[in-house]
């Protein structure tokens, strides 16, 4: 019924419009066509100039009124280094185009009024004017040349990839329907290889290739975690997609780049303002002092709830409008702290599971490397330590393995032992004892014997690797000096150990 009424109303409006049109046509015929045309020129010309004036006032007024959403003004100043250049180019362009806009719009409407047809009016025969045409070809040419040069300088500074010696934090963003996955590179600052064929939604949703050493320390943020980045530090985002096109868009940082399946892209930017600083700045604007949630007037204000956001800017399907993640910019120390709190996705979720291609390998290259660094520090500290502090003189091996019930070393032990030998050769003056310990299971005498045999195996390996035999001796302590409780399995494992003790310099 209501549709029917709506149709009737529309039809009535149509009839009224046609009647008005008809009447005005007839009245024009009565007045005489020419007279009517002249009258129309006067009134319509008047409306043209009024429209022109109001239009120009409205455009300029609205630009001033909305300046807070214009690039480079107030709260909408870019929060990245290159972004400021983009903003400045925008405003230079705005200046030039603004002048042209006002001048040409005004002339269009004003001339329509001024040169409206008049009785016995006569138009000018003006077919061309070479000088004038040259001038108005040359002026835009010069302005455009300026804008092209300035634009391309900004563009190439922003878009060119990093030189090899340039430092940057590498992160990776992967878009998919309809969210982003963010991967951090871990200690090596290298993002490991991935392959879409390895994707397994349950355990490896990004398809990370864990046979690539660089992948092993990488960190994939959980779905809702903030993307944390340090201020004043160059960030290189590698941008990839799992399914269709997406676009990695950080509006506050003037960052935007398509995510293309099969073709990784990148964007390099340097944040210049932390989230906290930004909030503090926004506090000065009245519109940011309204409550964030209008239904909760006592709740946090808008400026307090401000966050940098990551969005998708390339149509990717029905959930395109919902691919949000929060980006938090913090100072460098906070960033380091935050990073320390993250655990490698491999170690946390993959290591030792069926999905681990390294399953069965006891030691991985990055672990060996990490242990080597650690061992260097430990030996150096033990050498320097005061001899009254007995504990400080002890270096505990972490990756020395024996065959079960035997004193024969397994091959995996050599990584640590061989490296220890190299280090010890740097301190040719010190004397060392290799000490074996066991837990309290079994006969104490047998334990002592086994621990001595094992210590001797280690000593022999060190000698084999060039440490002078005169500097070393071995000792077996059995279960006599535990460092942990023997009541738990974990404690027992800690008590079964091989140590190196600096005994004199």
């Amino acid at each position: 019924m209501s549709y029917f009424i709506a149709l009737i109303i529309l039809a009535l409006i149509a009839v009224v419009a046609l009647q008005i049109g008809r009447v005005s046509e007839l009245s024009a015929q009565i007045r005489g066509e020419e007279e009517a045309e002249l009258q129309n020129n006067n009134s319509t010309g008047g409306w043209m100039v009024i429209f022109g004036v109001l239009f120009l006032i409205a455009t300029v007024w609205s630009a001033v009124y909305y300046k807070d959403v214009m690039l480079g003004y107030g709260p909408w100043e870019a929060s990245s280094e290159h972004g400021k250049e983009v903003d400045s180019l925008f405003n230079v362009t705005l200046l030039f185009t603004g002048i042209v806009f006002i001048a040409t719009q005004w002339l269009t409407f004003y001339y329509s009024f001024k040169y409206r047809g008049k009785k016995n009016g006569k138009a000018l025969f003006l077919a061309h004017d070479t000088k004038l045409e040259l001038i108005w070809t040359a002026i835009p040419a010069v302005v455009m040349a300026f804008l092209v040069v300035k634009g391309l300088v900004v563009w190439n500074n922003t878009m060119l990839d990093l030189d090899e010696d340039e430092q940057a934090i590498n992160i990776e963003a992967t878009g998919y329907q309809f969210a982003w996955d963010i991967r951090y590179p871990g200690a090596d600052n290298v993002i490991g290889h991935k392959d879409f064929r390895l994707i397994d939604m349950a355990v490896n949703p990004l398809g990370v290739d864990y046979t690539d050493d660089a992948s092993l320390d990488d960190i994939i943020l959980a779905g809702s975690d903030k993307i944390v980045l340090p201020v004043d530090t160059t960030v290189r985002v590698k941008i990839t997609s799992k399914d269709v096109l997406h676009n990695f868009y950080l509006p506050h940082f003037r960052v935007k780049m398509d995510a293309v399946p099969g073709l990784p892209t990148y964007f390099i930017f340097k944040p210049t303002k932390t989230t906290a600083q930004m909030r503090e700045e926004l506090r000065a604007y009245p519109e940011w002092n309204e409550p964030y949630d209008p239904t909760d007037p006592e709740g946090p204000k808008k400026w307090e709830s401000f966050n940098y956001e990551l969005a998708c800017a390339e149509l990717c399907g029905k959930g395109h409008y919902s691919m949000r993640r929060i980006v938090e910019i913090v100072d460098r120390d906070t960033y380091k702290q935050w990073l320390k709190g993250l655990k490698s996705t491999y170690l946390a979720n993959i290591r030792g599971t069926d999905a681990d291609p390294n399953k069965g390998k006891r030691l991985l290259p990055f672990e060996i490397k990490a242990r080597q660094t650690e061992l260097t520090k430990e030996i150096s500290a033990a050498v320097k330590a005061d001899s009254s502090n007995a504990d400080a003189k002890i270096i505990r091996f972490k990756n020395v393995y024996y065959e079960t019930g035997s004193s024969n070393l397994e091959a995996d032990s050599y990584y640590e032992l061989d490296y220890a030998a190299t280090l010890l050769n740097k301190y040719p003056d010190i004397q060392l004892e290799v000490a074996g310990h066991t837990d309290n299971v079994g006969d104490p005498a047998a334990n002592r014997a086994l621990s001595l045999q094992r210590a001797t195996s280690v000593m022999n390996r060190l000698i084999e690797k060039g440490v002078s035999a005169a500097r070393l001796k071995s000792a077996g302590y059995g279960d006599a000096s535990p460092i942990d409780s023997n009541d738990t399995e974990e404690g027992k494992a800690n008590n079964r150990r091989t140590e190196l003790r600096v005994i004199s310099q």
Binding site: G21, S62, F109, L126, H128
Partner: protein
């Protein structure tokens, strides 16, 4: 002073001076226009085909505009109950607790169809198809197109394309919903979106037929302009309309086949298991074994058409506006040759700027340097055209009728929309502006509204030539002011939304703190869009009412214009001129020259007079 108003004079002069092509000598009955079907349906007469293109375009314009009203409701009033459109949209209105909401899938389908329909069916076929057909033979002094049969096929391929696209609206999985640019992999994989199932297949079939239509039309326009100009009509005596249609047809002929090849590869990827555009994709729980392609290849092929396409849309409008401005200012168009060279320069440059749509798509940033350079060069011929139009107004004796108002409105729109192009063409600014509402505002003003203004100027101006009657001026003025005002009220605020970084093609802005601040402005825009829609219905009403009831055209040359279409009889006939065809002695813009109010092209030169400029 030569009296030129009289019909008698013009006809006598043409009989005396005209060129006898013996057209009427061997008339064995009019085999092309026998009966209703031959005359009105499968017509080969360019004037009828022009009207077929126009009315079909108008129907599509109403459908496309109605779609925009529906998705604007979602953007402006997302909380509103849309249950009342359920009878029309059916399952695409999702009802929870008695409240109907537009589904996101169909929102994207509407956005996609709106773009496809407006760009291809309305502003390409409806604009260029109408006026190239109507004006090329009439203004160059030809009996008809070079091949009336291909011309007829051109319309019917367009019609068929329209039928298929229309059918796709009613599919269970909905019409295509991946944006009018149809970027793969979204458009290539049915798993990626429901609209990429059968909807996309029909979209591709429809647009492939559309390409055929454009090519048949284009070949005809080019051949006709090159071969069928009457005696004396040298290239530099042609009205600017003809120059514009001619260059438009060349652009179409060179660029649409590239689009077709892009479509074919997409069809192969969809149906034959190839991977031109696919690589490294994991979707719907499985990794596709289709590797080695590049989605960016499609973008290159698409925009190699896509950019010339915006000039295919705007050049005819420019030509029409140049003509209307000159006739109603009673002045020669200022800088005729500069205008011609600008059209040629814009046409040429349009082929080497396509990648400015792709600055942020992952192409090598180094390549963008060239595209920025060439893109911003286009500002120069465009600026020259604007200055020339304004100077055409200067010193005129302007008749401010509806056609002229739309022509003047076109200048205003072209300035507003053209200047924002200078922002977007500079890749550095495009980093921020790409795919935001700033882009939406830019292209809607410069190639949407401006092209429509050119089209309206043309319709109001040549309506008497099409139907022998005038459209109502009063309703026309309401139409103009309503459209002008609403167009700016809709699109001007979008610049600010875009500057604030709000991306286009968002179903809802509420997910993001940064984007949800404009809900009032979005309401405002939606209201303006609804008003604009009803104002256009007023135009449609005026159009159809005037066909039968409009003021009759009593003079052969009602505007005192110089061009040849106003020398044909008021009652249009097959072959356009009853006797000889007029021969041409001068350019098309002798207005207010040497004490003569206007001098039509068929008037011979007086002693010492120069016929060209």
């Amino acid at each position: 002073m030569i009296q030129t108003e009289s019909k008698y004079q013009a006809d006598v002069l043409i009989e005396e001076q005209g060129f006898d092509d013996h057209f009427h000598d061997h008339h064995h009955g009019d085999k092309y226009q026998t009966g209703f079907i031959g005359h009105y349906v499968f017509s080969m007469d360019h004037k009828v085909i022009a009207r077929q293109f126009l009315i079909t375009g108008m129907i599509w314009a109403i459908i496309g505009a109605a779609m925009s009203v529906i998705f604007r409701l979602q953007l402006g009033f997302p909380e509103e109950n849309l249950l009342w459109i359920k009878p029309l949209l059916g399952k695409w209105i999702e009802v929870t607790d008695g409240v109907g909401k537009l589904s996101p899938e169909f929102y994207y389908a509407l956005v996609t169809m709106h773009g496809t329909i407006l760009v291809f069916f309305v502003l390409t076929a409806g604009l260029s198809g109408t006026f190239s057909n109507l004006l090329i033979p009439l203004q160059i002094g030809a009996r008809d197109m070079a091949s009336p049969f291909l011309n007829m096929l051109s319309y019917w391929f367009f019609f068929l394309a329209g039928i298929i696209m229309f059918y796709s609206l009613f599919l269970n999985t909905g019409p295509f919903s991946g944006g009018w640019t149809a970027y793969p992999p979204l458009s290539a994989l049915p798993q990626a979106s429901t609209g990429s199932a059968s909807g996309m297949t029909l979209w591709l079939v429809s647009l492939t037929l559309f390409v055929v239509s454009v090519l048949l039309g284009g070949i005809n326009y080019i051949t006709t302009v090159l071969n069928l100009r009457t005696k004396g009509m040298s290239l530099f005596r042609m009205p600017l309309t003809i120059w514009a249609f001619f260059v438009t047809a060349i652009l179409g002929l060179l660029s649409f086949p590239v689009l077709a090849s892009g479509f074919f590869m997409l069809i192969f990827d969809r149906s034959l298991g190839t991977s031109f555009y696919l690589s490294d994709i994991f979707i719907g729980g499985q990794a596709l074994d289709r590797v080695g392609g590049s989605p960016i290849l499609y973008q290159h092929l698409f925009w190699f058409l896509g950019h010339p396409e915006v000039y295919i849309i705007i050049l005819p409008a420019m030509g029409i506006v140049s003509e209307v401005l000159a006739v109603h200012s009673r002045k020669p168009i200022f800088g005729y040759r500069a205008m011609v060279f600008s059209i040629l320069a814009i046409g040429f440059l349009s082929f080497i700027v396509w990648a400015h749509h792709m600055f942020m798509s992952g192409v090598n940033p180094f390549i963008s340097n060239f595209f920025v350079f060439f893109t911003l060069i286009i500002a120069i011929p465009s600026a020259v055209k604007v200055f020339n139009w304004i100077t055409t107004l200067y010193g005129g004796n302007i008749r401010l009728n509806t056609a002229m108002l739309f022509a003047i409105g076109f200048i205003s729109m072209f300035i507003s929309g053209g200047l924002t192009g200078i922002f977007l063409g500079n890749s550095s600014i495009d980093i921020q502006m790409h795919d935001t509402y700033f882009v939406v505002a830019h292209f809607h003003i410069v190639m949407g509204v401006a092209a429509f203004f050119g089209m309206f100027a043309g319709i109001y101006h040549w309506y008497p030539k099409m139907y022998g009657r005038f459209m109502n001026e009063t309703i026309g003025k309401v139409h103009f002011w309503g459209t002008m005002l609403c167009a700016y009220l809709i699109f001007w605020p979008m610049h600010y939304i875009g500057m604030a970084g709000v991306p286009r093609r968002y179903y809802s802005f509420d997910t993001f703190d940064a984007f949800k601040q404009f809900s009032d402005m979005n309401k405002f825009i939606t209201v303006a869009a609804i008003v604009a829609f009803f104002v256009q219905l007023l135009f449609v009403l005026n159009f159809f009412y005037s066909i039968w009831k409009g003021k009759k055209m009593t003079k052969q040359n009602p505007y005192d214009a110089t061009t040849l279409e106003w020398t044909t009889p008021i009652e249009p006939i097959h072959g356009n001129w009853p006797g000889k065809i007029p021969s041409v002695h001068r350019w098309a813009y002798d207005y207010n020259k040497d004490q003569r109010e206007y001098v039509p092209q068929y008037i011979p030169l007086e002693e010492g007079e120069v016929g060209d400029h």
